[in-house]
């Protein structure tokens, strides 16, 4: 009987969270608006969840983390916590994208378009068709003005001939509904830690682990290079 545990961290948006899976069953999850101290909030939540589950961190068998895209600072904090735990406790680590985390909680047998907030004028998008042999589109950041072109090019006939579920924030809903009038919409604020846990658990079961030294967030956007700061030292 499978009894291994996996701890998952979600920190890509304004609501962060922790989830714990044991043997393929959800032991518990915490979602919280973290305010300014994200790492502190995640650690308090992790500590509480482990205590309630009568576990200690070294007893966790694997760690999963949402790699993004999302808040740059949130990504870095979540990834650093997960990779440092995996590193020092010598435990397996899996990374899942924010798109995968959303898809993990979606109904089966339907094509998905996951739309997450990027900048004020753009969305992070990934299309996951449920057609045999079809691959997911590469994750992309698309400006509002280019959404129509991206949808036509990426979704093709799927936008009208297949059942399509759009998972996204209120802004994504507002921008995409006129372009996809036949699609179903599911509103979310941020990816759910339970989705990170399920997607992570499947990766863990499949042996798709990553070395903590090589795990990096999925930023999609390059760093803003202005203005430069003087060196310290």
């Amino acid at each position: 009987m499978e009894t291994r545990t996996l701890l998952a961290l979600e920190s890509t948006g304004p609501i962060s969270g922790v989830a714990l899976i044991q043997g393929g069953a959800l032991l518990g999850a915490i979602r919280l608006q973290h305010g300014l101290n994200l790492s502190g909030s995640l650690l308090h939540a992790t500590s509480w969840l482990l205590q309630r589950s009568q576990l200690t961190l070294p007893q966790v068998d694997a760690f999963a983390v949402d790699l993004g895209p999302g808040s740059f600072t949130g990504l870095k904090i979540g990834v650093m916590l997960a990779k440092t735990w995996a590193h020092v406790l010598e435990k397996p680590l899996v990374g899942v994208s924010a798109f995968e985390a959303c898809a993990a909680l979606a109904p089966a047998g339907i094509s998905l378009l996951v739309a997450l907030p990027a900048r004020r004028d753009a969305l992070y998008l990934q299309f996951m068709p449920k057609v045999a042999q079809a691959e997911s589109s590469p994750p992309a950041m698309v400006r509002q003005a280019h959404l129509s072109d991206w949808i036509e090019h990426t979704l093709g006939e799927a936008r009208i001939t297949h059942q399509l579920l759009v998972i996204g924030t209120a802004q994504a809903h507002e921008w995409l509904q006129p372009l996809l009038p036949d699609a179903l919409f599911q509103r979310i604020e941020t990816p759910d830690p339970v989705g990170v846990a399920w997607a992570g658990w499947q990766r863990f079961q499949a042996g798709e682990m990553v070395h903590p030294f090589s795990l990096t967030p999925l930023y999609i956007q390059p760093p803003s290079i202005t203005p430069p700061k003087p060196s310290r030292g």
Binding site: S39, K76, S231
Partner: protein, 338 residues
């Protein structure tokens, strides 16, 4: 409390170190200078991303070189202020994760307090004399601090505008010398005439404060004049570097020695990246000798940002019973002392 793991990610150096009190067992610094050179200065988001990639391997290397396992570490010290917030949070997250996983005490350390302790890393057996005067000169800070005891500091003076290192970087950029500017100006100044150009010195009489923006503007005007005349040769650039550098050194040396005399201390330390400047070191030594002051300047690898100095400062805080909790946060600006 013996073995402390230090973490420093406040700007563009990813660093981890293991110290045993003041004895450095390992000090690893992964510099990002090459990355940021293309932009002429530190790009905060790029620096933070590099920390995420490099910190865990750097931590492992620090442990390996120290010949210790994580199980032997007894406390963790991490820079939590001041600095680039996006960069600081990476080190803080790693420190909290380590402390949680291994059930270890940890503390947040002020970056400048770390620099202050860097003067005492070279000879771990020599006592740390209190009170002593510390001149902190780096890219982000120029401060005169009276250290009265461990964790007990009084700010005597600070720059009212640009830090000394900031002035070095800006003048180097103006002259097309690349980034970081300090080493390039130090090198060129050796072949230049420090009296070729008479640049202003802001003495700010009656205070221990500093000001370098007027000097920077004077260099800018001189460079513009020379460019317009078509006389900005390599030799002239060397003279400009030497004259600019001398103007900074004159002020730093005179003010540091004067403050040490005024506060009747016998030990003066000079720390921070600018303390690695060869001309500053020799002229400060000469002035300190004349004033019968003991001068301590760390070797160059402890002048620039490093985690050994953070671990050392953290060691004394942990020894005094200080403990941080999960709510420890990053702060872009925070005074070392009032």
């Amino acid at each position: 409390m013996r073995l402390i793991l230090g973490i420093e990610t406040s700007c563009d150096e990813t660093s981890a170190a293991v110290v045993e009190g003041r004895r450095v067992r390992s000090s690893i610094v992964a510099s990002q200078a090459d990355l940021h050179a293309r932009w002429g200065g530190v790009v905060p988001e790029a620096a933070a991303r590099q920390h995420v990639e490099r910190l865990n391997p750097v931590l492992q290397q620090a442990l390996d070189e120290a010949g210790v396992s994580l199980r032997e570490i007894e406390g963790i010290a991490v820079t939590n202020r001041p600095g680039l917030v996006g960069a600081l949070v990476v080190g803080i997250a790693a420190a909290k994760a380590l402390a949680f996983a291994l059930n270890l005490p940890f503390v947040g350390v002020h970056h400048l307090e770390g620099h202050l302790y860097s003067a005492f890393l070279t000879d771990p057996d020599a006592p740390i004399p209190f009170p002593h005067l510390c001149l902190i000169v780096s890219g982000g800070h120029t401060e005169l601090v009276l250290a009265k005891g461990h964790g007990d500091y009084q700010l005597l003076g600070q720059t009212l505008d640009d830090a000394a290192g900031e002035a070095f970087d800006k003048v180097a950029r103006l002259l097309g010398l690349g980034y970081p500017g300090g080493p390039a100006i130090d090198r060129l100044a050796r072949t230049g005439d420090p009296s070729a150009f008479r640049f202003p010195r802001a003495w700010l009489e009656g205070s221990h404060h500093f000001s370098f923006s007027g000097l920077k503007t004077a260099v800018l005007r001189e460079v513009e004049r020379l460019r317009n005349e078509g006389t900005l040769s390599e030799a002239t650039i060397a003279d400009l570097c030497a004259s600019f550098q001398q103007a900074i050194i004159d002020v730093l040396v005179a003010k540091a020695v004067r403050a040490a005399q005024e506060w009747q201390v016998s030990v003066l330390t000079v720390v921070g990246g600018v303390a690695a400047n060869a001309a500053l070191q020799s002229q400060m030594r000469e002035a300190a000798d004349k004033a019968c002051l003991q001068l301590l300047i760390p070797p160059p690898h402890y002048c620039t940002d490093n985690a050994a100095m953070i671990a050392c400062a953290g060691y004394y805080r942990l020894l005094a019973g200080e403990r941080a909790d999960f709510d420890l946060d990053a702060h872009a600006n925070a005074p070392l002392a009032k």
